[in-house]
Amino acid sequence: MTSNNVPVLKIRRFIAYIMLILLTFICLFPFYILIINATRAHSAIQQGFSFLPGKSLPANWDKLISNDNLPVLRAMFNSFFIAMATALLATYFSALTAYAIHTYRFKLRKAAMSFILMIMMVPTQVSALGFIRQMNSMGLDDSFIPLIVPAIASPVVFFFMLQYMEGSLPIEIVEAARIDGSGEYNTFNSIVIPIIKPAISVQAIFAFVGSWNNYFIPNLLLESKNKKTIPILIAQLRGADFMKFDMGQVYILIAISIVPVIIVYLFFSKYIVQGVAIGSVKG
């Protein structure tokens, strides 16, 4: 049987590689063009495509940051600040919430857990109307608070944390800490957090990226020019009269919003890919 199967196996392996290489090409080619064109001058881009980079990267960058209609540096700072704060709050408080469910056996435990899991998949867009109106009436329109503070209640991050704790936080550790006289909150901060650090790092990256990429709510909420985030500038660029635009600038703005995330991703991709699998259901 095995001798029969060797050629079949070879053919299957060959098909698998062809398919994987093709998909790799489709995934990477758009970003290749992006990076090439970000280094080329507008006139060169208009003349046609080139597979080789140009020398206009610094010139494109200078033009982009001196464009008064697109406060790019400010937007990058805003996006970074919001994403960072979101990542911190989402991971810390989701860990705390998961810790409560994981460690303690209180009466409403089951109910609380079921509730969080049930709301996990409800899209934020369906309550956007009430959210925006409420933020307006609370005087929080054009503020970063509505983009950051709600991260404290992140059901998806909670779900990942809970899954992780079930696999790596035995209750005996908490009990040992109690015997040593550690208070419950102190145990969480100084013992539990270090143990679940791998889960926190992965979820922090997901939360950061999710916030950095978020467009729908910030676009409805932020109005003043110096509050805008990167995705809003992208939309603004798309809405502007495209023909009049310097294409070098367009490409470099897209590159700025994508490339930093890709770099971080490449450093942590192993853990991120594992993290995706952990959060899934058991087969």
Binding site: F49, F93, A100, A112, Y215, S257, I258
Partner: protein
């Protein structure tokens, strides 16, 4: 207190003194307080808004007047709701069908020990990458790449494939196809990893037994992998549907919010976004409620899958 002491002696193994359990409630406070303020109350007020006539006519505020279910009637009969729902489903399907097919294929290859593929880590890293990219920037990138005199048309023309630029964004299939292609690229890596985790979770003994009985890879896939993968499959399917309902960034940026050509790529959330921007709170509310009901039903199914007891 009696109950406490018996439960401790009964469950001697677990030994969780009840006195600590109030901390459970304490540590849940931040989550629930924030959830109620920033999600639950807004959700309920969205429901309330759906029952009022409340919009801007020029500079004049009309309403709010209580109109019962009139907004829903208007939405379902006069607007283009069904057309936009159809657009959303079609665009989702054009992306999802190849996505699930290719992901299933890749996952079974990655998990197949006899195939011994190399550089799996590299391929997984590459295929997952589009998922972390800013959807709006990705869409803007595709808009420039596929514009009438963009690089793709340049390449196609200089290679002699076409004589004139193909105007992707003026054609229905071109626009819908691009949106679906982007969603495919963003999600097939994620789906592959989920399905692969599922396949790896299957007892390898089952495959060995099948092989001993002389089953072909196709038979193994059909009779062992697929039935045991069903829960993950359902999970992927429903979560992707929920994602499909939320489709917004990519078509919004690609078509500059117009949903053109002829609004054939206008999705449900783009429609909601329009009502929110024009401050038609009644219609936006009614649309939100409809979307909430659909996603709540789907969420309940996901909940069933993730809390299902292991047999």
């Amino acid at each position: 207190m009696n109950e406490t002491s018996t439960s401790i002696t009964n469950r001697h193994k677990k030994k969780r003194p009840i006195t600590y359990n109030r901390y459970g409630y304490l540590f849940l406070i931040p989550f629930f307080v924030i959830y109620i303020i920033f999600s639950l109350v807004p959700l309920l007020s969205t429901f309330v808004n759906s029952l009022y006539e409340n919009y801007m006519s020029g500079l004049n505020q009309v309403g709010p007047t209580f109109v019962g279910l009139d907004n829903f009637k208007t939405l379902l009969t006069e607007g283009n709701l069904l057309k936009y729902a159809g657009n959303t489903i079609i665009i989702w399907l054009i992306g999802f069908i190849p996505q699930i097919t290719i992901s299933l294929l890749l996952a079974s290859w990655f998990a197949d020990m006899r195939l011994r593929l190399r550089a799996k880590g590299f391929f997984k890293t590459v295929i997952y990458m589009p998922n972390i990219i800013m959807a709006s920037a990705f869409s803007m990138l595709f808009f420039t790449l596929f514009s009438d005199n963009g690089p793709i048309n340049n390449i196609l023309m200089s290679s002699g494939t076409i004589d004139e630029p193909f105007r992707f964004l003026s054609s229905i299939i071109g626009t819908r196809g691009l949106i679906s292609l982007m969603h495919f690229l963003m999600w097939f890596g994620n789906t592959t990893i989920l399905l692969m985790a599922g396949i790896m979770g299957i007892d390898p003994g089952l495959f060995e037994a099948g092989q001993v009985d002389g089953a072909s890879p196709t038979q193994l896939f059909k009779h062992i992998t697929m039935p045991l993968l069903k829960p993950i499959f359902i999970y992927v399917f429903i979560t992707s549907m929920i994602g499909g309902i939320q489709m917004f960034d990519v078509p919004q940026i690609l078509t500059n919010g117009s949903g053109n050509p002829n609004r054939t790529s206008m999705t449900l959330i783009m429609y909601l976004n329009r009502h929110l921007f024009s401050k038609n709170f009644g219609m936006a509310g009614a649309l939100s409620v409809i979307l909430f009901i659909i996603s709540a039903v789907l969420s309940l199914l996901v909940y069933k899958v993730i809390t299902r007891k292991d047999d």
